[in-house]
Each structure stands twice: as structure tokens, then as C-alpha cells.
Amino acid sequence: MQPEKYVSNKIKLDITKLENEFYRADLIIHGLDHSGPSYEGRVFINNPQAGHDTPDDSAQGYTGSFFVFGHGGCLGDEGHCEVNRPSSRFNLIPNPLVPEKVSLIVTEKLKELGKTTDEFTITIVPKLSRGSERACQKDADLKNVVLLHKITIETYDKD
């Protein structure tokens, strides 16, 4: 079973209207969940059709990968691993499941695509860590693994 891919809403950004030309652009994934299985997230820009058989090819919109070292699923009942639930004032050890922020450098791809469009769609195709299902909780969700809060694109100019 292959996990579901994630396809973002369209991100509006007209790079031709930026005040200064940027020298770097980052794709930032905010609030990335790592409570489930481990996986490689293959990231494609403006290729919502990208899937498990799509090669890591720039012509296909591939712009890099990130790697999630996951905790393998929740051990408890529903809501048990909710990171925002109030913690005990006597527990000073931080919650290990606080979502993360990861970024990819997408400068060249953004410059290339931005010549002809001001809308960008991000597709993340997850590839599970092989054989780690057995070490996950038996009811761990191996289908919906890419869980995140939002995706932003940040550009940097020389000033």
C-alpha cells in the first residue's frame, strides 16, 4: 500500500512584480507532523499529477526531498498524542511530538516557473521507510502520513 500524496492549494506569487530580484527562495513546510511512520517526502512544484512512479526529475517539477524520522504512531486512545493538550506543571520534559518546520531551497525552480505563472502548487509524494511498519503501532495510519499546517514560499533579496 502506497501512502497518499499531499497536494497544496495554489500559492499566489508573481515574481515579476517583486521589488528586487531575489537571490534565494525557500519552500517552508510549517507544522510537519512526525508522530507517525518515517518517510521521504519527494517535493514537486506545479505537477499535481506527480505520483509514486514519477521520477526525481527536474523536468517533472521535482525540487528536492525531506526526511521524517517518525515515532511510529500513537500508543494511546484517541487524542492521546494531541500535542496541544495541557501538560502537567510537574513534567518539564518537552513533548517529543511538537510538529517541525522543514525547508527546501527552490530558487532555480521558482525562477524558471515564475516566468510564465504566478500560481504554484506543491505536491509531496511520500515514500515510506521500508519495513518500519512492523515497528509502528498496529493501528498507525500508514496511508495519510503527510500532515502539515501550511506551506509558504519565502524569497530573499540582496538588501
Binding site: 512526525h34 511512520p37 518515517s38 518517510y39 521521504e40 526525481d56 528536492g64 526531498s65 525531506f66 526526511f67 521524517v68 524520522f69 517518525g70 515515532h71 511510529g72 500513537c74 500508543l75 494511546g76 492521546h80 498524542c81 518539564l92 520534559i93 518537552p94 517529543p96 511538537v98 517541525e100 522543514v102 527546501l104 531551497i105 521507510s129 521500508r130 519495513g131 518500519s132 512492523r134 515497528a135 509502528c136
Partner: protein, 276 residues
């Protein structure tokens, strides 16, 4: 091996070429794996995931709201704890490092000494460990019961080449990390890049935080992570870490971050200062 009163951690490839050294390493691992008390392998493995769940990976906040990056310091103390147990069995043994970026790794993947399933008719203690735990997980308060050998399902060696290119494009390859002067950036890029990739690539129990440290390969993987930090420290200073982090306690080792910054004061060094 000792040099100037500190013992040296060596490349696993060099140890594999010395039959006496590799036998000693296997024997020391086997002896601590046979123990079920607090001098044993399972006791140490427990600290990372099940059942103690003390390993910090991502950044956290201290009570004053400062961001803390315990990933590198905690694992340095962790490696030391395992190494001291090994050295109680055999003082000549140290934890070797596995250079996943080496040309050999790109050809054969996991070092043979850790992938060979059996030595004669016995299970190779460097290839797997029988997880045998029953108890309540500290973090989740849920009862855990596991009794089975660790497993792996590594990817193809050439995937290391492919990933190195991808990490390089994202300025996460090791030479690029050495040019960073900010500890927090260095630590996070090393963790999210090569560190996470190797866990995902090996798969099986290494691919899950809760069980990763039961697989002996965990320790040669993290020894390389620690070596890379040590090299970075030679370039940017042993003390190069945010000052508010120095008093942070590393549970359950009874040490603070400041205590583990200087590897020579911890009586070890790396046999090579190569920056690859």
C-alpha cells in the same frame, strides 16, 4: 587505541580490517546484550525510545522561552554511556563510526561487520538484538510488550549517491554544514538531512524513534553524527553553542551540555580529522 591519554574512536572500515579488533567489539557487545540489569544494552536502548522516551530530536523551549537544541549534546552523552559499558567489558573497545558518505558505503551500504547475520552458528550481535521489553512507556503511560529481534530493510547503496546530491542542492551536505558558524543551523541541518535520511534508508526498527536504538547500527550511525559535530567544533570552537544551552541538563545522564562540549575532556578523540 590510545593517543596522548585519550582513546580513539575509529572508522568501522579500519576495524573490519583488524580481526582482533572486530572480535573484541563483537564480544563486548554480546556481553552487554546478555545482561538484563542496568549495565546492559537493553537498559541503554530504553533511554532513546521505549520505555524511557528521553531522546530530544527537534528544538524545544526552556522555561524562559529560549530555543534549545539538545539533539547533538544528548546523543553525545548517550554514546558515552554505551561506550563506558562496553569498556567495562573490554577497555580496548570504543564505538566506531560509520561514514555513510564514503565511496565504500555507496557501493555496499551497511558495513559488512554489521550486516552479516551470523558468525559461525551464532547470531552476530552487531546485526540485531532481541528486544524484550515489558512495562509502561514513560511518555505515553501505555503498557508496552515486545519480544522479537530487530529488523532492517535498507535501500539500495546507490540511493545514498542520489540523496547526497539532493541534500547538497539543499545546502545540507556535510562540507556545506562545516561552513555554517551558527550551531543551531548546523545542528538542525545535520539532523533533518543526513541523520534522518539514514534512519529512513535503513528502515525496519531504525525507521522508528521508539525502537531505533535497539538496533546496534544506531550507535555507529550516531558516532558519525558526533564525529561530524567534533570536526565542526575544531573549525568553529568547542564552546560554539548558545550560552543559555550550557546549563541544560541531559537526562538521564547526570550531565549538562557544558560537561560534554570538549571530547578530549571526556577522554576520547576521533582517529581522523578528515572533514568528509
Amino acid at each position: 587505541m590510545y593517543k596522548d591519554s585519550v582513546y580513539l574512536r575509529e572508522n568501522i572500515r579500519n576495524i573490519e580490517n583488524n580481526i582482533t579488533q572486530i572480535r573484541r567489539l563483537r564480544k563486548a557487545f554480546q556481553e552487554i546484550m546478555d545482561r538484563v540489569d542496568n549495565q546492559g544494552y537493553a537498559h541503554v536502548a530504553n533511554h532513546h525510545g521505549y520505555l524511557d522516551n528521553l531522546c530530544p530530536h527537534g528544538p524545544t523551549l526552556d522555561p524562559e522561552g529560549n530555543i534549545i537544541h539538545k539533539f547533538l549534546p544528548w546523543h553525545r552523552a548517550y554514546l558515552l554511556k554505551l561506550e563506558r559499558l562496553l569498556q567495562e567489558r573490554d577497555p580496548t573497545v570504543s564505538v566506531p563510526w560509520w561514514d555513510w558518505r564514503s565511496e565504500t558505503s555507496k557501493k555496499i551500504g551497511i558495513p559488512k561487520s554489521f550486516s552479516q547475520d551470523k558468525i559461525g552458528k551464532k547470531v552476530n550481535p552487531l546485526s540485531k538484538f532481541n528486544i524484550n521489553i515489558k512495562g509502561k512507556d514513560r511518555a505515553s503511560k501505555v503498557d508496552i510488550s515486545i519480544n522479537r529481534y530487530t529488523t532492517r530493510n535498507p535501500g539500495k547503496p546507490h540511493e545514498i549517491i542520489h540523496t547526497q546530491k539532493a541534500l547538497s542542492l539543499n545546502e545540507q551536505d556535510i562540507p556545506q554544514l562545516y561552513s555554517l558558524s551558527d550551531f543551531r543551523q548546523f545542528s538542525e541541518r545535520l539532523r533533518i538531512g543526513w541523520h534522518n535520511f539514514i534512519h529512513v534508508w535503513i528502515g525496519g526498527d531504525m525507521g522508528v524513534v521508539n525502537t531505533a536504538a535497539y538496533d546496534p547500527i544506531f550507535f555507529i550511525h550516531h558516532c558519525n553524527v558526533d564525529r561530524i559535530w567534533a570536526v565542526w567544533q575544531t573549525l568553529h570552537g568547542v564552546d560554539s553553542i548558545p550560552s543559555h544551552m550550557k546549563s541544560v541538563v541531559l537526562e538521564p545522564f547526570g550531565m549538562t551540555v557544558k560537561d560534554i562540549l570538549d571530547i578530549n575532556s571526556l577522554n576520547y578523540d576521533y582517529a581522523s580529522v578528515s572533514t568528509t
